[in-house]
Amino acid sequence: MTNAVVTLNHGKKAFGDNEVLKDISLTVNKGDVLAVIGPSGGGKSTLLRCLALLETLNSGDLSYGDLVVCSNNAEGRAVYGDAATIAKAKTRYGLVFQNFNLFPHYTVLQNVTDALICVQKMPKDEALARGRDLLAKMGLADKESMVPCDLSGGQQQRVAIARAMAMNPDVLYFDEPTSALDPELTREVLKVIRDLAAEHMTMVIVTHEMGFARDVADQIIFMDGGVIVEQGPASEVINNPRHDRTRAFLANYDRD
């Protein structure tokens, strides 16, 4: 288990009476690419948001490597660590939002470097150099002084990835990275993610692209109704689903 980048045990989350996550456990090891699939409303985004500390778990244990973010108290309620712990945990993951959530008033380069400079207190030169490196890697070298609204969807997506990567996280979370994009752009972004996978970036990806999930993911989790219905190696879950619900879900996808 020394390899575990993020571990969630018995995670539970309800919005009012609506139990959205019912006892979810998962471990993501270094270098893993985990795809999370499942029908709308199944709790995929909520799971990601709990991992990214945008929602608080009602109960469960969550750690990033050796850093315990929250654990159950005697009554079985999740108790979160202090501000310093949370701040430290935030350096260990990055999140790429479905609709990017870039900062519209910042240039591309500022979007990527501002948190480095202001939050991580990295010297400005170093941060800019790093930001430019990442943008170049994403094929955006010539866009650094543009603002997000002047970029196409695919370019914005790549800026969002660069912004998350800039913090040098141990794991990168994606929520439906391509659902706002047209097919050509989808292809482009999937290529970027494939490249990251090839470089052994640890990733958790909520996606509707089955072909992509099968190609790029090591593991697939199928979630429905707040539980993990099925979990296993990618090709196995997609080609030979064991559960009826998984089969029914996958039947929606033309596989011709």
């Binding site: 500390l53 939002f97 519209p104 008033h105 948190a115 202001c118 997000p148």
Partner: protein, 217 residues
């Protein structure tokens, strides 16, 4: 009265008008943010207090607020504030009053910033203060500029209320001149000066608006 003399008196008044205008903006633009944040606070007593503040300051005439601040210390507490107090009372009254109006404008702006912006900042590790000053506020300013413009132009003319404290700003000077000359000309000149001042403000606001047009969301 000769024209240059009249203009001299009006311009002297305009100096005070401009001072009240600038001091009010310098004080109430930041204070408005504080009041807006208090109004949106999750600590309910603070939110209610801010709401009461806004409702009273907007709901009663600025002229009476100025008088209350001017005379309150003496009539309520027997304090003798001295002869400079009227300038302080004027500044305090205008700042408190405009902060209430600005607070409501800020609030509508802050509430229009999508949650996603906060969430993105949180995930990147920005503190709450950093998120507000670096991410939210700059976007709010762009959104509220037109509403602010309306209010700022109202302020130009509200400066004339300072006369209730004995501060002879331009409009009161024009009134006095009109009376002593039995003539409408001082009024006409004052209107012209106000108008030019407002045009300058509109020009500056348009410039800022253009400048913030480098992005849209």
């Amino acid at each position: 009265m000769e024209f240059p003399v009249m203009m001299g008196i009006l311009m002297e008044g305009f100096g005070l008008t401009a001072q009240i205008f600038v001091i009010t903006l310098v004080g109430s633009l930041p204070l408005g943010i504080v009041v807006a944040l208090a109004r949106m606070s999750r600590f309910k007593p603070l939110a209610w207090l801010a709401q009461l503040y806004i409702s009273i300051l907007r709901g009663t005439p600025l002229m009476l607020q100025l008088m209350a601040i001017m005379f309150g210390p003496y009539y309520l507490f027997g304090l003798n504030m001295g002869s400079d107090w009227k300038f302080w009372a004027c500044a305090i009254g205008f700042i408190l009053n405009y902060a209430a109006y600005f607070a409501e404008i800020y609030r509508s702006g802050i509430q229009s910033i999508p949650r996603g912006q906060y969430e993105a900042a949180t995930v990147l590790g920005y503190s709450k203060a950093q998120t507000f000053t670096k991410i939210v506020l700059p976007q709010v300013i762009k959104r509220i500029l037109p509403a602010m413009g309306n209010e700022i132009i109202t302020l130009v003319k509200d400066t004339s209320l300072a006369f209730v404290l004995g501060i002879m700003e331009m409009f009161s000077a024009a009134k006095a001149l009109a009376a002593s000359e039995v003539s409408m000309i001082p009024y006409a000149i004052a209107a012209l000066i106000y108008w030019v001042f407002c045009l300058v403000i509109e020009f500056i606001l348009n410039r800022v608006e253009k400048k913030l047009d480098y992005y849209h969301d």
